[in-house]
C-alpha cells in the first residue's frame, strides 16, 4: 500500500478530472493532488531509511510470478525529487499555461506523466517498466501537441516516431530476454544471469536491444536527435516538465539495468557506456554553443548533462555511483529552473530568440538572479549544487583511473559556462536592440505563482549546495545498495 498510493494519487486525479468540466476546479484539484503526492513521497524517506528496500507484491502473488513494486533508496530519492518538481511545475502552470489549454486537459496529461514516471521508478518487473514507459510517453505525446500550433505539430511528429521506435527496441529486447531466461522479474532475471555467467553472449542481442531503447529515451549520443527537435516547441511549463522528468527516467532505468544485469559482462559494457557518455557530453555542449534560442540551448545541455551521469555510471565504483545519483538530482532541479525562467521571458516578450531579447535584468532583477543561480549551478560554480555534482564525478573518475575522461568533463564544463554566459549576456544584460524590438502586449496578469515556483527551486539548488554532505551521504547509501544486487534479489524474492 505504501508504494501503491503513489500510483493511486495521480490515478484518482485522472478519474476526477474526467468528471469535472470547470477549469478553475481542475486547477485547484491539481494543486491539491500534487501536494498529496509530494507529502507521500516525503513520508517514504524515513521508511526507506528504516527498511532499506521497500517491496510490495501486487495482488498478493509472490515475487517471480506476480508484479512487484520495489523502491530502494535510489528510487525513493528520485520519487521525492519528481514529486517536488511536479508540485512546483503544477503551481507554475496555473499562471503560465493559457486557459484554453488548461480547459482541454493540460493537468490531466501532466498527471498521466506523473503516474508513468512514479510507476517506472518503482517497477520491479521488466514488462511493467515498459507499460509505465508507455503511460508516460502517451501523455507526453499529447502534451507536446496540445494546442496544435504548427511548430508543435512538427516537433511532436518527430518526438512521437522516434520514441515509438525506441519502445519497439525495448519490447523486442524484453521478448528475447524472456525467451532465453523465462522470467521478467528484475531480481529473478539478475539471479538467473548470475547462474548463466558462462554463456552470457547468448543474451547480448536482447541486452543490446534494451540498452538502445533506454539510450533513445535518455537521449544519449547517437540517439539524441529527437530531443532538441521537440523540446522547445510546447509551452514552457510543458518543456520544463519534460526536461526535469522524462530523460531522467531513461537514465534511471539505464542505471538500474546496468547495476543488475550489464555489469556481469563489464569488460564489454563499461567501454560502451563510457564512450557513449563522453560523446554525449562533448557533442551536446558543442551543439548548444552554436544555438541562438533560449530553450534550444538548454535542450542541448540536457544531452550534455546526461553524459556526466553516464560516464559516472561507466566508472562504476561506489564513489562514482554516489556522484551519478547526486548529479542526477542536481540536474533535475537546475535544468527545470532554467526552463521556468525561460517561461517567464517568453511570457514577457513572446519570443526566446537571443538576438531579439535584452534588458531583462532591468525588468526584473529577481528573475535575473534566479536564472543566474540555475545557470551557474549547471556550469558548476562553487556554492551551488552543480559544483559538488561535478566535483564528485571528477574525483571518482580520477580515483578510478580515468583521468582523461575526468579532464574531458572539466573541459566540457568550460563550454557549459560559455553557453550560460551567452544566455546571461544576451537575454539579461545587453540593451535590447531597438530595431528588432517587436511589439508584444505588456502582460498585466500577475505572475506571483510562477515566481514562487522558481524561487522554491532556486532555494532548493542553493540548499543542495550548502547541505551537500548529508545528501551525498544518502546518495552513498543508495550507491552501496546499487552495487550489491544480491541484497536487491534477497529483498524481492525473499531469503533463499
Amino acid at each position: 500500500m505504501i508504494l501503491f498510493a503513489l500510483l493511486l494519487i495521480p490515478f484518482t486525479y485522472l478519474m476526477l478530472a474526467l468528471l469535472i468540466k470547470k477549469a478553475g476546479i481542475k486547477k485547484r484539484l491539481a494543486i491539491l493532488f500534487s501536494t498529496l503526492n509530494l507529502l507521500w513521497a516525503m513520508a517514504l524517506v524515513p521508511i526507506v531509511q528504516y527498511r532499506e528496500i521497500i517491496v510490495v507484491q501486487m495482488g498478493g502473488w509472490s515475487a517471480p510470478f506476480g508484479i512487484s513494486l520495489v523502491a530502494d533508496r535510489f528510487s525513493v530519492l528520485m520519487l521525492l525529487v519528481t514529486a517536488f518538481i511536479f508540485f512546483l511545475i503544477t503551481v507554475y502552470a496555473t499562471q503560465s499555461v493559457d486557459k484554453a489549454r488548461r480547459k482541454n486537459g493540460h493537468f490531466f496529461f501532466t498527471f498521466g506523466i506523473l503516474m508513468g514516471v512514479n510507476g517506472s521508478f518503482m517497477a520491479g518487473d521488466l514488462f511493467n517498466l515498459y507499460v509505465w514507459f508507455e503511460v508516460m510517453l502517451m501523455s507526453s505525446f499529447i502534451l507536446v501537441s496540445l494546442g496544435g500550433e504548427r511548430k508543435q505539430l512538427e516537433g511532436s511528429i518527430k518526438y512521437l516516431i522516434l520514441n515509438l521506435i525506441s519502445s519497439l527496441f525495448f519490447v523486442a529486447g524484453i521478448g528475447l530476454l524472456y525467451g532465453k531466461l523465462g522470467s521478467l522479474n528484475l531480481a529473478d532475471l539478475s539471479q538467473k544471469m548470475e547462474l548463466a555467467r558462462a554463456n552470457l553472449a547468448v543474451l547480448n542481442p536482447a541486452l543490446i536491444l534494451i540498452f538502445v531503447g533506454f539510450s533513445i529515451k535518455a537521449a544519449l549520443f547517437p540517439f539524441f536527435f529527437w530531443l532538441p527537435a521537440s523540446y522547445h516547441t510546447p509551452p514552457p511549463a510543458v518543456s520544463a516538465l519534460f526536461a526535469g522528468l522524462l530523460t531522467k527516467v531513461g537514465i534511471y532505468s539505464l542505471i538500474r539495468f546496468y547495476t543488475l544485469f550489464l555489469y556481469y559482462d563489464a569488460g564489454f559494457w563499461q567501454q560502451v557506456v563510457l564512450w557513449m557518455g563522453a560523446l554525449s557530453m562533448v557533442i551536446g555542449v558543442i551543439a548548444a554553443s552554436s544555438q541562438y534560442d533560449f530553450r534550444k540551448i538548454l535542450s542541448f545541455h540536457i544531452i550534455s548533462q546526461v553524459g556526466y551521469v553516464v560516464i559516472a555510471l561507466g566508472f562504476f565504483t561506489e564513489a562514482a555511483l554516489t556522484a551519478a545519483i547526486f548529479f542526477l538530482v542536481h540536474n533535475m532541479l537546475s535544468k527545470t529552473n532554467a526552463f521556468l525562467v525561460a517561461g517567464w521571458v517568453h511570457r514577457e516578450k513572446g519570443t526566446l530568440n537571443l538576438k531579439v531579447l535584452g534588458d531583462m535584468f532591468k525588468k526584473s532583477p529577481v528573475w535575473g538572479i534566479l536564472f543566474f543561480i540555475s545557470a551557474f549551478s549547471l556550469a558548476g560554480l562553487p556554492p551551488l549544487s552543480g559544483f559538488f555534482g561535478k566535483y564528485l564525478v571528477l574525483q571518482s573518475g580520477i580515483e578510478a583511473g580515468y583521468t582523461g575522461m575526468a579532464m574531458l568533463a572539466l573541459f566540457v564544463g568550460l563550454f557549459t559556462l560559455f553557453s550560460m554566459v551567452k544566455i546571461w549576456l544576451e537575454v539579461f544584460w545587453k540593451k535590447q536592440p531597438e530595431d528588432s524590438a517587436m511589439e508584444w502586449p505588456v502582460n498585466q496578469k500577475p505572475a506571483h505563482w510562477m515566481l514562487f515556483s522558481s524561487l522554491a527551486l532556486g532555494a532548493a539548488i542553493v540548499a543542495m549546495g550548502v547541505w551537500a554532505a548529508p545528501i551525498a551521504e544518502y546518495c552513498q547509501a543508495a550507491a552501496q545498495d546499487l552495487l550489491n544486487p544480491s541484497k536487491y534479489i534477497e529483498y524481492v524474492l525473499g531469503p533463499s
Binding site: A172, L176, Y178, Q291
Partner: protein
C-alpha cells in the same frame, strides 16, 4: 515452423525499415505499424511454439513435460503490447490528419522548421 516465422519476421522488419525511411509521413507511420507487428511476433516466437498444446496442467498431474504445454505469458504480453500500439496508432493518425490540415503537406522534409539550423 519456427524458421518460417523467423524469416517472416525478418521480412516484416525489412519492410518496416524501408517504409520508415521514406519521405512521406503516411508511409513512415505505416512503417511504424509494420515494425510494431513484427515486434509482437518476436515476443510470440520467443516463448516457443508448441503445436496443439494448451496452456493448462491437467487435473491431478504432479509433473508435466514442458514440451507438451505452451507458455501463456508471451501471448498475454502481446495482448498488452497490441492494446498499447492500438491507442498510439489511433493518436498518431489523428496527429497526422491535424498536421495535414495545418500545413497541407505530406513531405517529411517540410518538417525542418523546428530543427537546428
Amino acid at each position: 515452423m519456427e524458421y518460417i516465422i523467423a524469416i517472416f519476421i525478418g521480412l516484416l522488419y525489412a519492410c518496416g525499415v524501408y517504409l520508415v525511411l521514406r519521405r512521406s509521413i503516411v508511409k513512415v507511420i505505416l512503417g511504424v505499424f509494420v515494425l510494431s507487428n513484427a515486434t509482437n511476433l518476436i515476443i510470440f516466437l520467443s516463448g516457443g511454439i508448441t503445436r496443439g498444446g494448451a496452456a493448462f496442467i491437467p487435473e491431478g498431474a504432479e509433473t508435466v513435460d514442458p514440451a507438451t504445454i505452451s507458455d501463456p505469458l508471451p501471448q498475454a504480453l502481446i495482448l498488452t503490447a497490441i492494446v498499447i500500439s492500438l491507442g498510439i496508432s489511433a493518436y498518431i493518425l489523428a496527429l497526422k490528419y491535424r498536421y495535414f490540415d495545418v500545413t497541407g503537406t505530406h513531405d517529411l522534409d517540410q518538417l525542418k522548421n523546428t530543427d537546428q539550423r
